[in-house]
């Protein structure tokens, strides 16, 4: 059963990813990315990461994708030029991508897996509680740093999208 779920979700994710790259209109790329996000969230659930699954749906498929859709809706579907300005670009990127795929493939084949950590309760693994225990004790400092990161990003976004003085 889990194997069937894995392959269905993997197929969904790969088809969605191909759609992201292949569609000419940005709005279709965004909607394909939503498909990828949902398929990956199914895989996260399969990997007993319940909390990350929920965050993926809410933050990614919800908030970030709505942000993209807003920008596309505000500025119209800018259609892509068929031709690129740089010659050889698609050819060179094809070579680069094939080399990268071979590299990652050989890396995956060469992985030496470590023994799982002892004493982990899989029924408890990945729940909100188990994540909160680690996040608010051992990793409290990085957690607080991410709040500063979000604050900086919010201030930056407000600064960039403010009304300029000479527009008034």
């Amino acid at each position: 059963m889990a194997i069937a779920i894995f392959f269905v979700a993997a197929l969904m994710a790969v088809l969605g990813a191909v759609g992201v790259v292949a569609f000419r209109q940005p709005i279709r790329s965004v909607l394909s990315l939503v498909v990828v996000m949902v398929a990956l969230s199914i895989l996260f659930l399969l990997l007993t990461a319940q909390f990350v699954f929920v965050v993926q749906i809410i933050v990614y498929a919800g908030a970030v994708m709505v942000l993209f859709l807003f920008v596309i809706a505000l500025f119209g579907p800018a259609r892509e030029l068929a031709r690129t300005q740089l010659r050889f670009q698609s050819w060179l990127s094809g070579v680069f991508v094939l080399v990268l795929l071979g590299l990652i493939w050989s890396m995956v084949q060469g992985i030496q897996y470590r023994q799982p950590d002892k004493g982990t309760d899989l029924a408890f693994f990945g729940t909100v509680q188990s994540i909160a225990v680690e996040l608010f004790t051992r990793y409290l400092y990085p957690f607080e740093l991410t709040s500063i990161l979000l604050l900086v990003a919010a201030i930056g976004a407000i600064y960039l999208s403010r009304k300029k003085i000479d527009d008034l």
Binding site: P26, T48, G156, S161
Partner: protein, 109 residues
């Protein structure tokens, strides 16, 4: 030791890793081939998601929760990156229509 027992059946960790590699490479192809700055940002999000998948696979295989925490951190970074990137794009779109990222080369030395 690469198999993981999930719901009574054995799944291999390398299947997930290869899926993550395929998604990452499709995203990289998009960044290299597409011209629209918005679509390039979308492809970067796709690559970040593929990396998140590998983090969660290793977290599950080692039965160690730290990988999941790191995936949450990288989601935060991705959200911040999307917000700032889109704000910059909106600022540029106010000035003119951009169909190709190669048009944005005024800051070239």
């Amino acid at each position: 030791m690469s198999t993981m027992t999930i719901g009574g059946s054995d799944l291999d960790a390398s299947w997930f890793l290869i899926l993550g590699a395929i998604l990452f490479i499709i995203g990289a192809t998009g960044v290299l081939v597409r011209r629209n700055p918005l679509v390039i940002l979308i492809c970067i999000e796709l690559m970040l998601n593929a990396v998140n998948l590998t983090l969660l696979v290793f977290s599950r295989q080692l039965q160690n929760i730290e990988g999941q925490l790191f995936a949450l951190m990288s989601m935060t970074v991705a959200a911040a990156e999307a917000v700032v990137g889109l704000a910059i794009l909106v600022d540029i779109f106010h000035v003119r229509e951009v169909e190709d990222v190669d048009e944005l080369s005024e800051m070239k030395g």
